[in-house]
């Protein structure tokens, strides 16, 4: 054990290292016995040299390196697995399909889901956590009671289950009141007049018509009586976290904006896997974070966690550079390049060349692809540096 003295601190702070590396130097020195100030200085200098060595050089093609670094592990990813692989028996798209979905910036993911964290009072009480569940999960009529169609009288009869009502509306005391609420919702959405008697609700089409009757039943099944339309299922799970145990909700289907404003939901930790919903509700910076998190999680899940996060950060930076989420590819980044030749080299060559010809576009040959095509040196690495040979005079040793 070596104590970190002011002198050691001075030599370490003197280096050009980022905070995280400095901390690591401190802990390493702290673990060893008898490290002198001179040795600490040498360690710090060695670390600094190594750090400066490993930094990206000016004019390094970082994009190309990132593309390869993500692309190669991508070849080892599963082409198709999405069966209860995620947490809490919820289907989530994984592997290559998920990665493609992310970089394509699809409007809605294949399997939208949310991870809903709860506020303190709700997080450690199963009853109260369930209250939030009923506020989120879409409640359809089939979950509440039985529907029967009386063809003779042309009536639809619903007999609601009292226990279920009480369970799903814990804040309302009388089941009659809840049944009244349900009858109200049916009237509003189907445009019929209902007759309520206790927990049974009855209604029928205005004109006796067998087709209308079936139509009404069909529509009745689609009405959401409580919760959020888009969320079809909520799974509640007790999770061990650093701060102790707490209940966390996982949802199938997502409506991020709606969930954030539900009482009991912790609006500072709740997330969803739809980057566009994050963008709409939390802004472009949050979307950037979400893209990095989601891509990294997808890779990690496949055991490809040795991909450096910097590559994913670069991808995410590019995707959010314009203040919105742009996809990589023909409709996004690659399709909005300035150079005609670069665009033509990517996909749908003829269309790009034709359009460019019609609009009389000019290519300034600034990028990489177009210079490769025309056979000029590219402006990267040594290609961007001009070297001139000078001559030295023998006497002064100075360049002319």
């Amino acid at each position: 054990m070596t104590e970190i003295t002011d002198d050691i601190e001075a030599v370490v702070e003197d280096t050009n290292l980022p905070k995280r590396l400095k901390d690591q130097v401190y802990s390493t020195v702290d673990e060893r016995d008898g490290v002198t100030v001179e040795q600490a200085d040498q360690i710090a200098k060695a670390v600094e040299n190594r750090y400066l060595d490993t930094r990206v050089d000016p004019l390094d093609p970082v994009g190309t390196v990132s593309a390869q670094s993500i692309g190669e592990p991508g070849t080892q990813m599963t082409m198709n697995t999405f069966h209860y692989a995620g947490v809490a028996e919820i289907d989530v798209t994984q592997g290559l399909p998920r990665l493609i979905e992310l970089v394509d910036a699809r409007k809605t993911p294949d399997t939208p889901m949310m991870t809903v964290f709860l506020e303190d009072e709700y997080a450690d009480d199963r009853e109260r956590a369930h209250e939030v569940v009923w506020g989120i999960e879409a409640t359809k009529i089939l979950a509440l009671g039985d529907i029967s169609t009386n063809v003779a009288d042309m009536r639809v009869q619903i007999s609601l289950n009292e226990d279920t009502l009480q369970e799903r509306w814990p804040r309302v005391d009388s089941t009659d009141e809840i049944a009244g609420e349900i009858a109200g919702i049916i009237e509003d959405s189907l445009g019929v007049t209902t007759v309520q008697d206790g927990t049974s609700v009855e209604f029928g089409p205005e004109e006796p018509s067998y087709r209308d009757l079936l139509q009404l039943v069909e529509e009745l099944r689609d009405i959401t009586f409580k919760g959020i339309e888009e969320v079809s299922r909520v799974v509640i799970r007790k999770e061990e976290l650093d701060s102790g145990e707490e209940f966390v909700l996982y949802t199938e289907g997502s409506a991020f904006g709606d969930v954030l404003s539900i009482e009991g939901v912790d609006a500072s930790r709740t997330t969803c896997n739809n980057i566009h919903e994050i963008y709409r509700n939390l802004g472009v910076e949050a979307a950037r974070e979400a893209i990095i998190n989601e891509t990294m999680d997808t890779l990690e899940e496949q055991g490809l966690d040795d991909v450096n996060v910097r590559h994913l950060m670069l991808v995410s930076d590019i995707m959010t550079n314009e203040g919105t989420i742009e996809s990589i590819g023909r409709h996004g980044i690659s399709g909005s390049k300035d150079s005609v030749l670069a665009r033509a080299a990517f996909e749908v060559t003829v269309n790009h060349l034709l359009d460019a010809a019609i609009h009389g576009e000019v290519d300034d040959l600034n990028g990489v692809t177009e210079n490769v095509i025309v056979g000029k040196p590219i402006k990267l690495g040594t290609g961007d540096v001009d070297l001139k040979m000078g001559s030295f005079s023998r006497q002064s040793g100075q360049a002319d």
Partner: protein, 75 residues
């Protein structure tokens, strides 16, 4: 209404005054329009931000301690 700035995913956004903007642009030797953009309607934007302002964003970086980035407010 939910306070967006409280969310873990949202870093701190603040409007940069003009003198600081000039300093930043001089340091990187770029024009204002070379900066990454942020939409005027972005929910994380401070209320007083207007189109043309430069926003300073302080992120908790994965690779260093904190990273300071700038975005230009656009329509």
């Amino acid at each position: 209404m939910v306070d967006v700035s409280q969310h873990n995913l949202v870093p701190e956004h603040s409007v940069l005054d003009e003198a600081e903007v000039d300093e930043v642009l001089a340091e990187y030797d770029i024009d204002r329009t070379d900066l990454p953009k942020i939409k005027r309607a972005d929910p994380a934007l401070p209320d007083e931000a207007e189109v043309g302002n430069v926003i300073e964003i302080i992120r908790d970086s994965r690779t260093t301690d904190q990273a300071v980035v700038y975005r230009l407010v656009v329509e």
